[in-house]
């Protein structure tokens, strides 16, 4: 009977020793949490994004030995796109390792929930192409970074484009079909403003989660025959919308999706019927960029790819890669500012705020042609607000417009007003930014 007891004692001691050794190991790494959804209704869109993030981090670890000489400890947590599970993941991972450097929830709902937690825990929220639009005002939303473009920017860009191709929107009809969630409701104020300014009739039709029931919405569209339909959907809602458009004979050429409704999983299920469908593009699709060559070489050739080799370079995959790159650039900037290797969430926030991607730096990173230059500041947490329109030709996305920049003169005061109202409601003293 003695032996097992001493063995158990030995095991316990070993386990304790391992536990004690852990902080030492953590000191030489930074912790990168990744909130993902690889299962559930939104998985087809969540998976390519998650793969892009995981592959880029793996490549940086393999090629450069980490960021600024520090290995990246990486962990995924499954949210299923549900806000409660997202918050649970955040709580579980925020203090892991040396402390999370930043979170990208990939859900506007989770972002809304974490916006109040981030300042308390001092961890930045990076929301590349999503999140609260007014959070671009860095004075009030000091911990939010809706990099590359908010939904208000997206709505503004769509109006600019449709006005241009149809010779003005006066007397036209625009219908928004939106996911009935914080995400889907974001563009409504901007589209309403523009309706008054441009003289078009605006109608918004909500679609409830997950968006598989849209027949009534599209029968209504068949009756009202709008000149353009904007689609603010996510996951299966997008492909269903395209199929329903086909079923009521609404031309796909007049449909425009936001950049979360313009990727391969949105059009492929509709097959040939999706031909002609348009969408906003924050960046191109394709795997011909230097960064992809490195991902294939260091990650896929080593048999460590998160997904299938042929899916590298899809729209949402590339967005994941860009999201990870921006986060690690913020870490690098923080390392420079504080002149140390292991940085905390609070220091990475400062890194985000002084993040600058020049054309030269983009080339160095292997992202030339994939992202446009961006400069974040204390006042402006968006950094850049440009997108192009691309169209599905049945096989691939083809650009049909040049880069269009959202109108800052109109958006900025609106954003500041909304941010000020939020600050007042929550009792936040805005930063002075001087």
């Amino acid at each position: 009977m003695r032996a097992p007891r001493s063995a158990a004692l030995l095991a316990t001691t070993a386990a304790l020793a391992l536990l004690a050794a852990q902080p030492a190991a953590a000191a030489d790494t930074i912790f990168y949490p990744s909130l993902v959804y690889r299962s559930g209704a939104y998985a087809p869109n969540g998976i390519p994004f998650a793969n892009g993030v995981a592959d880029y981090v793996a490549m940086i670890n393999a090629r450069d030995g980490g960021v600024g000489g520090v290995k990246i400890e990486f962990e995924e947590c499954e949210t299923g796109y549900a806000t409660d599970r997202g918050v649970e993941c955040y709580e579980r991972l925020k203090t892991k390792g040396a402390g999370a450097v930043a979170f990208s929830p990939l859900s506007t709902g989770i972002t809304f929930a974490l916006t109040e937690k981030a300042p308390v825990d001092k961890i930045p929220l990076q929301t590349t192409g999503y999140g609260r639009s007014e959070s671009a005002d860095g004075r009030v939303f000091q911990w939010n970074f809706p990099l590359l473009g908010t939904y208000w920017s997206a709505a503004d860009i769509l109006i600019q484009h449709t006005a241009k191709i149809s010779g003005g929107l006066k007397g036209k009809k625009i219908t928004l079909v939106y996911h009935d969630s914080p995400y889907g409701k974001e563009p409504i104020p901007v589209l309403q403003d523009h309706a008054a300014k441009h003289g078009y009739t605006f109608e918004a039709i909500p679609v409830t989660h997950p968006g598989v029931e849209q027949k009534a919405a599209w029968l209504k569209i068949r009756q009202t025959r709008p000149d353009f339909v904007f689609l603010w959907g996510w996951g299966v809602m997008n492909s269903t919308a395209i199929k329903e458009a086909v079923a009521v004979g609404y031309p796909r050429e007049k449909m425009y999706g936001v950049w979360w409704a313009a990727a391969e999983p949105d059009v492929r299920p509709a097959g040939d019927d999706a031909k002609g469908y348009n969408g906003l593009a924050l960046h191109p699709a394709g795997a011909d960029y230097p960064v992809h060559k490195d991902i294939l070489k260091y990650v896929y050739d080593a048999g460590k790819g998160a997904g299938k080799r042929e899916e590298v370079g899809e729209v949402l995959y590339n967005r994941g890669v860009i999201d990870a790159m921006l986060k690690l650039e913020a870490v690098r900037t923080a390392q420079k500012i504080y002149n140390k290797k292991v940085v905390t969430g609070s220091e990475v926030r400062d890194g985000f705020e002084r993040l600058e991607l020049t054309a030269e730096r983009i080339k160095e990173l292997g992202f030339e042609g994939l992202v446009t230059p961006l400069k974040v500041s204390c006042l402006d947490h968006e950094g850049a607000r440009k997108a192009r329109i691309h169209q599905w030709d049945g096989q691939k996305w083809v650009f049909v417009s040049d880069w269009i920049e959202a109108d800052t003169n109109y958006l900025r005061p609106k954003m500041e007003a909304a941010a000020a109202a939020y600050a007042k409601e929550k009792g936040i003293t805005p930063a002075s930014c001087s």
Partner: protein, 301 residues
């Protein structure tokens, strides 16, 4: 006449959506009628069947893939009977219901693990461009989707076949006997386990048909399992034990929710399609607790 066109069109579209709900509801009714179990896993079975079919069809010719999927669904039925139902014979209905919730989680996860979580296109060769009827009568005609017509025909033939099966065959009678009382049925020599296997297999095949109809419409992906939620108000409305009830319930829910979304929705902010069916079902519950076609249950205490 011009105003009547759109109303007719929505009504027709709604009725056809309703048929699709009926297809899912049918699976529930089948198992409840024959075994007294409310099978929460029906939605998961729809997803699992459709996923199996669409992924197998990538490797095998379509008819063979269909056959293999039918065998898979029978295997699922056999496994459920062996591992879940057999140990629970004679237990209260609620316990069996809870067990099927477990089966749901397992099938959802297992299906996605072996077949993947992507959206897969299921092309049954049905044209997707709409037909326009009575164009001379209404401006723009009445729009009908060929996919919906296909689903209606399939559902119709399925209901006919099942009605004959239940009322005209020995097995059908045995099934009904089991539904009334497990133990009494066993005592007169009805092989309970065999009956359960048959009925779960049939429900599996109904799930496959529903999965094909919904999958060709939406693409085969996880949301198919959520479609089952749409069958719940249909069941409340039509009654849990009635096959015609599932059909009529589906039609009422389908047409009701579409008309409500279009004509009541704008007054209260829209997006009511999702919960309208439940309100409708609740109203029916108040008047007829057993549903429109359900059997009135009299239990002596």
């Amino acid at each position: 006449m011009a105003e009547l066109g759109p109303v007719l069109e929505v009504l027709l579209g709604g009725l056809m959506s309703g048929v699709l709900y009926s297809l899912v509801a049918l699976g529930f009714v089948l198992i409840f009628k024959a075994s007294g179990v409310f099978n929460f896993a029906q939605g998961a079975m729809v997803l699992f069947a459709a996923l199996s079919l669409v992924r197998l069809a990538e490797w095998l010719p379509f008819p063979l893939a269909l056959l293999v999927t039918v065998l898979i669904m029978i295997a699922v039925a056999w496994t459920v009977e062996r591992l879940v139902l057999r140990p629970l014979v004679g237990q209260h209905g609620l316990i069996l219901f809870m067990a099927t919730i477990g089966v749901t989680f397992f099938l959802d996860g297992f299906g996605q693990t072996i077949w993947g979580s992507n959206v897969y296109q299921l092309d049954l060769g049905i044209p997707s461009t709409p037909w326009f009827l009575f164009e001379s009568l209404f401006p723009g005609g009445i729009l009908v989707s060929p996919v919906d017509v296909f689903a209606t025909v399939i559902a119709g033939s399925l209901v006919l076949a099942l009605s004959i099966f239940f009322h005209g065959t020995r097995i059908g009678r045995a099934l009904r006997a089991v539904a009334d009382d497990h133990q009494a049925a066993q005592s007169v020599g009805i092989p309970l386990n065999q009956i359960w296997l048959i009925v779960w297999s049939t429900a599996g095949i109904v799930a496959l048909v529903a999965g094909m109809a919904w999958g060709s419409k939406l693409g085969v992906q996880f949301s198919l399992s959520l479609v089952a939620l749409k069958a719940l108000p249909v069941l409340i409305l039509g009654g849990l034990t009635s096959i015609p009830g599932a059909i009529v319930g589906g039609l009422v829910v389908g047409a009701g929710e579409k008309l409500a979304e279009l004509y009541i929705g704008p007054l209260i902010g829209g997006g009511i399609e999702y919960w309208f069916a439940y309100v409708l079902a609740l109203a029916v519950l108040l008047v007829r607790p057993q549903g429109l076609f359900g059997e009135k249950i009299i239990e002596r205490v």
